[in-house]
């Protein structure tokens, strides 16, 4: 539908300029100046501009000639989206905190999150199509009549671009937070995991990690990159990178006999991880490096614990009776607990009386109440005293 040239001249492009300037002022106030009175003054001025032109555009659209109503209404709708995005932004900004002393985040965190996510989308929808509609109007500024088809096509084009941008941004964001990845490299050396990093961060005593690799070893470089990621995580962590050939003394001190070893030392506790020096053979171990280091760290950084349990009536045995016996044995549990840095393991048996197993880092003692030799074991006596203290609970 065509309208007369007199009507065509009634389009006010300057409102869109004020609209854009208002948005820019809000951006400058909130993101560039960011704090202080000037920031809020610019924000207020920008908002005032945007809201005023939205109302003004609405009033003009009501009086617009019949042929131009679609274009003007489209602009009102777009200004409305822009104004709504500004309102939504202000609701999630510090404005509420500064004016009424509270924030939306405190009262309705879910609503706050929803608004924070949606206002950029609203802003894009309310801004980009304005530019394309104004370009369409500009192309017809000398035309005797407006071509309504052009305005609609330009509006749809602008909306299409806005929706494409929203879709692309949402997809990229989803991809980023999914953190799904495939490591196809030759060496897939694990990186320190969250658990390992947390253990190291929570260290309260010095821990030394000493790696023994020749300087040109590819495996050594992979281990060094892993250790590099741990370095600086805690002031109690000390990492030494040595070549056993050059520092055999330090190796002897740590009980290391050659290269290809990672030694972890905390006080008197020592643990080692051995790795092959050939890259081909070390690939699998390198992938599991974080698991190995993690379990050792768990082992040596935990304080010693005492674990008590009853042997019962023979439901559990120390070793399988024969090949068909598939029960989980006490020896197995003992070993697992030893791995977890358990200092004592006490078993109580109805049949044999008290049996006390003191499981240290290196050795284990077994004592029976009826055994004539038990009082001579000093450590076992200490353990028995503990049984006396906790026995009722254990036996009960």
């Amino acid at each position: 539908m065509a309208i007369t040239s007199t009507e065509a001249k009634q389009h006010r492009a300057d409102l869109s300029i004020v609209y854009g300037t208002g948005m820019f002022l809000v951006f400058v106030g909130q993101r560039i100046v960011s704090s202080g009175k000037l920031a809020w003054a610019l924000t207020a001025l920008g908002c005032l501009g945007v809201f005023s032109v939205t109302v003004l555009r609405w009033l003009l659209a009501r009086k617009a000639p019949k042929g131009d109503r679609t274009g003007q209404r489209a602009l009102v709708m777009l200004y409305g989206f822009g104004s709504a995005s500004l309102l939504a932004y202000l609701l999630t900004s510090d404005l509420l905190l500064l004016t009424i002393g509270t924030s939306l985040d405190r009262h309705a965190p879910a609503v706050n999150s929803a608004i924070r996510t949606s206002w950029p989308a609203l802003w894009v929808v309310g801004t980009l199509p304005v530019a394309s509609v104004e370009l369409a109007y500009r192309s017809m500024r000398r035309a005797p009549v407006f071509d309504q088809g052009r305005l609609i096509t330009s509006l749809m084009s602008g909306l299409g671009v806005a929706f494409a941008l929203i879709f692309a941004s949402a997809s990229v964001y989803a991809g980023r937070i999914s953190e799904l990845s495939f490591d196809l490299s030759y060496f897939r050396t694990a990186k320190p995991g969250e658990s390992t990093s947390k253990i190291v961060k929570s260290l309260n005593q010095p821990l030394t990690i000493t790696t023994f690799f020749p300087p040109t070893s590819e495996v050594g470089q992979e281990v060094a990159s892993y250790m590099g990621a741990l370095q600086g995580t805690s002031p109690f962590l000390k990492i030494e990178q040595l070549d056993h050939g050059l520092d055999p003394g330090r190796g002897r001190e740590l009980g290391v006999t050659g290269n290809g070893v990672i030694a972890l030392t905390r006080g008197t506790l020592r643990r080692q991880v051995a790795l092959p020096l050939e890259p081909e053979r070390a690939r699998v171990e390198l992938r599991k490096l974080d698991d190995s280091v993690n379990s050792i760290l768990l082992n040596i950084t935990r304080p010693a614990r005492r674990i008590y349990f009853t042997k019962g009536h023979g439901e559990r045995v120390f070793k399988p009776i024969d090949d068909t016996d598939r029960r989980s044995t006490i020896s197995y549990i003992k070993q697992r607990l030893t791995d977890q840095s358990a200092s004592f393991l006490l078993t109580v048996s109805n049949r044999w009386g008290w049996q006390i197993h003191h499981v240290g880092s290196q050795c284990a003692y077994a004592v029976s109440r009826r055994h004539s030799a038990w009082p001579r074991h000093h450590q076992s006596c200490g353990a028995l005293l503990d049984v006396g203290r906790y026995g009722r609970r254990v036996c009960g």
């Binding site: 369409a136 990229v172 999914s178 490299s185 030759y186 590819e218």
Partner: protein, 241 residues
């Protein structure tokens, strides 16, 4: 779809019928070969995976430049020679024209990139690389090249001449390459957005190390999608501008 393939086939043939296609192809192979010999193989005591990563690092630059050179002619040449009117007045949608031209450029760029595969295979003479690492690197190169080509297609759709198209595309690519520097002077969340836009720094490095991150693949796909979408809208804007 047949319209898209018809245009793609026609434009792909044009690369091989003209000298410019062969010149770009030969230049890319020569520069890649020189850089590979000088910097990747030339330095002693380096792990095979590092040599391979270096190769992908150098190849990414040549792939991006070649993509801009390949894309600058896609639509701008039609405008210069006045044949765009023939295309737009034929029973084709704007979408078919843009996608067909992009596909032809992508096919040529892929052929050119994959023809460098003998270089990383040379590492196998004295070293060991994983096929997965090789796949990851080439996937990254194709994605980076495809994205640059899409940006170049947009530049070509916006410009009237090929030179102007190359300049516009170059500026857009350089902006995307260097925008991460703005993270030093911007606050959250602008810095996060700017960093996420970084064409190379944020999204390509993991491919050179043999790591395929779904987020990076999505990023390249989405930038290509937006660039092509804008190119279609730009061609379509002739109706209302």
């Amino acid at each position: 779809m047949s319209n898209v393939l018809t245009i793609a086939g026609r434009d792909l043939g044009a690369y091989f019928r003209t000298l410019s296609g062969y010149v770009i192809f030969a230049l890319v192979l020569m520069i890649d070969g020189l850089l590979f010999n000088a910097f990747a193989l030339g330095e002693p005591d380096r792990r095979s995976s590092e040599v391979l990563a270096k190769f992908f690092y150098f190849s990414s630059g040549t792939t991006m430049i070649a993509s801009i050179m390949l894309s600058m002619r896609l639509l701008a040449e039609e405008k210069q020679t006045g044949t765009l009117v023939l295309l737009t007045s034929s029973p084709l949608r704007d979408r078919d024209i843009i996608l067909g031209k992009y596909l032809s450029g992508f096919a040529f760029m892929s052929l050119m990139t994959l023809s460098t595969v003998y270089m990383p295979l040379l590492i196998l003479v004295h070293g060991k690389i994983s096929w997965g690492h090789l796949f990851s690197g080439y996937l990254g190169l194709l994605l980076l090249g495809g994205t640059t080509l899409a940006i170049g297609t947009l530049g070509s759709a916006l410009a009237r001449t090929q030179v102007l198209a190359a300049i516009i595309s170059g500026v857009m690519v350089v902006l995307l390459l260097t925008c991460w520097l703005l993270t030093r002077v911007t606050d959250y969340p602008i810095n996060e957005i700017v960093l996420e836009l970084a064409l190379y720094q944020r999204h390509f490095t993991s491919f050179t190390l043999g790591i395929v991150r779904v987020g990076d693949v999505l990023y390249y796909g989405m930038v290509s999608y937006v660039a092509l979408f804008l190119a279609i809208r730009s061609l379509e804007a002739r109706r209302w501008q």
